[in-house]
Amino acid sequence: MGDYLSESEQLLEGLLADLEALGASVSDDNPGPRVHLINRIFRAAHSLKGLLGMMGLDEVRALAHKFEDVLDALRLGNLALDREVASLLEEAGAGLAALVGGAARGSASGQDFDQFRELLASIASRARQPKPVARAIERLGLSDRERALLSKYERSRIRANLSAGRSFYSIAAGFDRENLEEQYRALTSKLEELGELIAVLPASGSAPVNFKFILAAQLDAAQINKSIEPMGALAEQIFAPKPGKQKGDQTGLEQQSLRPLSKSVQVELAQVDEISGLAHELYIETKRLSALADQMMLRAGCGAKERFELLQSARRIERDYLALEERLVELRMVSLGQTFWRAARLAERLARELGKSISVEMSGRSTQLDKMIVDRIAEPIYHVLRNAVDHGIEPPDERRAMGKPGRGRISLEASLEGTRAIIAISDDGRGIDPDQVRRRAIQMGAIASNQRLSQKDTLRLIFLPGFSTASEVSAVSGRGFGLDAVERTMHELGGEIRVSSQKGRGSRFELIVPTTLLMISAFIVRVVRWRYAINVGQIEELIYVHPGEISGRNERLSINWRGMRIPFVELSQLIGLEPMIRHDKIPTIVTRVAERKVAVAVERFEGQREIIVKSLGKLARKIKGVVGATDLEGGDVALVLDIPSLVLLKGMRL
């Protein structure tokens, strides 16, 4: 199932991208369909249908078949492609992707299926009856038998090429049985370069196997024969358009191969991890070998030159290893495109259900992140977007009364900042009311009624577990994913979530995540007997604290940092070890937790380095405060800590 699902996801990604390209190709100047795109989309839908059958997702398969029918109508010219149809097709593609994912997880509802059926019916209703093509084919001078062999698609392509004013050629070719496949492929490849290969018909001839190829092209017979005669084929013109009737590429026909363009292979994430692990083992052993060799050379009295050469060789291996790891990291990267597409379609559907009108603008879809991060961040994006549609965007009448356009605007943006990605979801809706938030927090007992908070800190209260008004629950009921879970997911990924809002103007949520979890810059620290790694993205500053600078008692310690009091805690306390030994200068990491700063003391700083974060396996989700582990020299393992999670798990007051 995993293999089929992975392949389905790839097909869907390509299909969605092609649907978008198809939509973009529709313009007033070029109203016709893009043949190669439509064929590719049709083939993807057909392959997907097959995979769905393999996965036993019969209901989705049946709908994929209907989608295929719609695409067939498009490629046969029975469904005109205009902007509206293109938009509906994109929506259908995203809807199919959502259904496949939902059905695979067992979470697709009857309503989801019904909505998709309605969408397909709406598109199919726009198809017209096919025009008769008999007259057109008669112009080619094919025999009755040959005409009977033509498929519906081939007939439609003949009509389209005739309308485009192209010449038609009949190419006779014979092949011997031993090299049939190779020779056949060579000729058809060449013909596809020269024009559009419409049909391949059986023929008689002197060779053991004979075919008649029907080609539509803008070239003349001499040009075509120059290319194919060396292959033993001969072209004869069977139809020439009247002079002045050639319309060039008016219908958008492109003389491109119809063969799949993909040059990629499928690689399992686990395989990439395994290769990465083996590469790292090789690297560690090489370092040991080079250290041993150096010692032996010393004992053997080898000169500085030999030892230098050994050192150089070890350095080259280290560089090559790092380059290999970078390539392996790149293998895991996928774009946010499909996630954004699904999110946008989900938002549009929700808006329709709520009687609201929205436009979703997307940018940065090609931003690439580690696949694991993209998979984990999807649900938080959907949740924030649902909130924006449900609670942020006002109904059209309310918006107009406020002087806003009736259609709300939601934007999904992704951008990179160094090794972090920022995914921003913003809306121009009613914004978050800080007074309402404050009242709710007081009601929950989260803050005292006389406690003063800045606007920023007030907004952060919405991430408290259980913080929701009755209307929020109605929107997200059954989803099981509150804003506190969104924040937790961000922390688990080594990131954070920020919110800004203006009452009446809108809100903006920023989900900030590392681009990869596999290879990161980390700072190694020692606490008691153990070493730990901390993502440098989580470190604001490294400082040394004098014991006299620590004030407070028990678990309410604090220090002064850049003019403000921030909480102070020992890492040993956060991770449940015995107390650390304190020296005159306490190495301390200043880190960010929920937009607050916290000082975390360790016993020793051991420097920054690039590390490979290794997974803790499928039970990793049950392990709190740790995102993975890394091998250190000497066979030691350093846990890669998620400091913000550990601080929150400890229940520290910030």
Binding site: G576, L616, L619, I623, G625, V626, G628, V637, L646
Partner: protein
């Protein structure tokens, strides 16, 4: 990882079983590795293991799930170390039995005793409420020996 590659790796790591006395297995018997944890003895199907190694240093986890005491790096893989004992000191534990599967588990042991060929009639089904993650216990080797079910173990964590 494909099944072919996984079984190749298993054969390589099963070098860790060298030195253990092994009974000849027949077609209908199950190869079980017997190991000791403190005063208790346990068994695990050999086909569920990837080898027995000297236990490397274990890094303790801050909020460990039940039965997990920490993480050890073995042959490039991060292994969650499972302690089946009832809380007695882990200092003497010198062996780690690597378990197959995505859960990346390793069973902490004092020693790996031997590999036996258990006949079907020696494996008695346990009720679901048993103390250990085991569906069967082995009889005929002194006290009944729980046969650790690695899937049940992963689910119980």
């Amino acid at each position: 990882m494909t099944e072919k590659k996984r079984s190749k790796r298993s054969r390589d790591l099963r070098g860790g079983l060298i030195g253990l006395r092994a009974e000849e297995a027949s077609a209908d018997s199950a190869s079980l590795l017997l190991f000791s944890v403190g005063a208790s003895q346990f068994a695990v199907r050999v086909e569920d293991t990837e080898g027995v190694v000297e236990c490397p240093p274990i890094s303790p986890l801050p909020y460990p799930p039940q039965r997990i005491i920490g993480v050890a790096g073995v042959k490039g893989r991060m292994t969650l170390v499972v302690d089946l004992s009832s809380g007695s000191s882990q200092q003497q534990r010198r062996r780690l039995i690597l378990v197959k599967g995505d859960a990346q588990l390793g069973l902490l042991a004092d020693r790996a005793d031997r590999v036996i060929a258990a006949k079907p009639e020696q494996l008695i089904a346990l009720d679901q409420e048993g103390r250990w993650p085991a569906r069967f216990q082995l009889e005929g080797y002194g006290e009944p020996v729980p046969v650790i079910d690695v899937e049940l173990l992963a689910e119980s964590i």
